[in-house]
Amino acid sequence: MGQAPGAAVRADSVTCHFGKLVALDGVCFAVPAGAVVGLLGPNGAGKTTITDVICGLLAPTAGEVTVFGHEVGRRHLREIRRLIGVVPQETALYDELSARENLHFAATLYGIASPLRRVDELLALVGLATRAGERCDRLSGGMRRRLVIARALVHAPRLLILDEPTLGVDVEARHEIWGHLRALRDGGTTVVLATNYLDEATALCDRVVVLRSGRVVADGTPGDLVSRAGRYVEVDCHPADVQRLAEALYRRRGVRLVEEEPSGVRVHVSGDDGAAEDVVTAAAALAALAGFRTRPPDLAEIFRTLE
């Protein structure tokens, strides 16, 4: 993989072994400066491992990662860590301490000149100014996540790495967090977002790198990914017609997969224009349909198609 001009992060053939387990296998991707790039994949795909490598927490077995041109390694670790802010999957807050004290400690670690003022700014930014003195273990899940984002921003990093930032939070809190991330993107911060959620990646990311079993299986815009993944057509019919319908539809243009259900068939079609409509028309000609639906594939189905 060549050097991407202006890349905030470049991963080049990164491989990580933990004993016999291959956590990353020749991972290559680039994150342009100022972009929001999603690392999408099921649990165990290697998302956290690659973010750990970018942060310098984990040394790759082979390959290299650069952050704003600095090779991640012991030599440049301090400089790199001044450039990145990290939102870990687990909130990693000091629960016995208040929100303010947690941020104050982070400000100390980065040598912030006026820590108290910076802490107040961040608390206001994430809407926690009124809860600043409260112990962290008394904050809701969404508030804790917002606090962790504030902590990662304490030194105004050029690159923000988020590992499942909305894991376990409710819908409202999730949208609040998305709002903060959009504001950061608009402010020019480069964001690497590791997530399990396709809708999150679609809503926030300029590009998506899909990982599966430690390998990059897709790299493109969310739109590309969805269109590559095609659509599903679900046709309801009499049980006696299921097998005949399945066999006939399998031969239609753009059909990738046909699955028989007790009272219908599920057809995965490519993203080509008209393939879904063609399937519905053909099905209606072959059997009396009780109904039909078309929908985009869910994340598990997308991963299956990318195998």
Binding site: L57, A59, R82, V86, P88, T108, Y110
Partner: protein
Amino acid sequence: MRQHLRVAAGTARLELLRMAGSRALLVLTFFEAVTFLVLVSLFGITGSRAPTALVDQDGGPYARLLASDLAAAHNSFSLRPMDARSAAAALGNGEIAATITIPASFDAEVNAGNTVALPLAVDNVDVDLTDDVQRALPSAIVSFGHQLHLPELRVAVQEQDLLAHDTGYIPYLTVSALTLDALVVAGTLAAVAVARDREARTARVWRTSPASAAAVLAGRLGATGLVSLLALAVTVGCVIAGYGVRVQHPLEMVAASVACIAIFTCVGAWVGAALRRTIAVVPLIFGITLPLYIDSGALEPARFDGEVIWWIAHASPVYYAVGVMEDAFHGLRVTPEPVWLDVAALAGFAVAALTLALVSLRRVEAH
């Protein structure tokens, strides 16, 4: 350098706030320090004061003289005058360890120059206790004979003390107990602080920052060391005010206390960094503490326990700590090594433990 100091100070502040937020931990830390002192002194009290009934069936002047010699004979005795029936009942109930009976004919037999048999009934549930009682009797009888100038006695003890002053067993134990306190309190607090940081994943906060692991560790250990030192100060106060121990070298005592806390804090940091789990840390600290303590000259100088045990003791930092503490409090040299060598050995343990702790903390960051 200034940033490293800021990080260390900030981490110390954080750790103090965390401990302040867990008041039960703070209270139990101080309580633990005092209870270990009490535990050790109880060990001394119970081991050295075997309750023994004295049944004086004669009551004459010689009988009374023997009774007073028995009382002064050995510090293992705690003599309780009783009648024969009460003594038999008490022995049967396990209330006393032995019964010494001065028979009714005692004075008459002594006057007549006859040998008198002293009946001794012993509860031999614990041979160590029985031996103490049996050892005490001959010395009382010798003392009794000397006072009466009995002609058959030919042997007299001429004691020459190595030291200018005697040190009581309990005062000796309480001072060595301070090293136990330092090990348990400082070791546990440091180990738990380091392990909890890994366990709760809060270590990620500083590990992904430009702060150095050494500065963070220094701050964290500074805070736990300070709290441990306060707990030890309370215990030292108990030793001085409660047990009446007079400190021979106050400055050395302060320096030794600080050194013990610093060293055991470093040892605890290593344990915490290596185990990474608080649930494993506490049993390990308690599991290694007592063997290290017993094999350290805590009960008597380790060299009195035989060559093998003495050499094994050299592997334990508690051995050197007891050496320094006993010198500071009582002016006793309980190790053949000079005090400066004990201090140097302790410093060596601290540096080794700290290095191992840092290596453990940095291990995953190897590039």
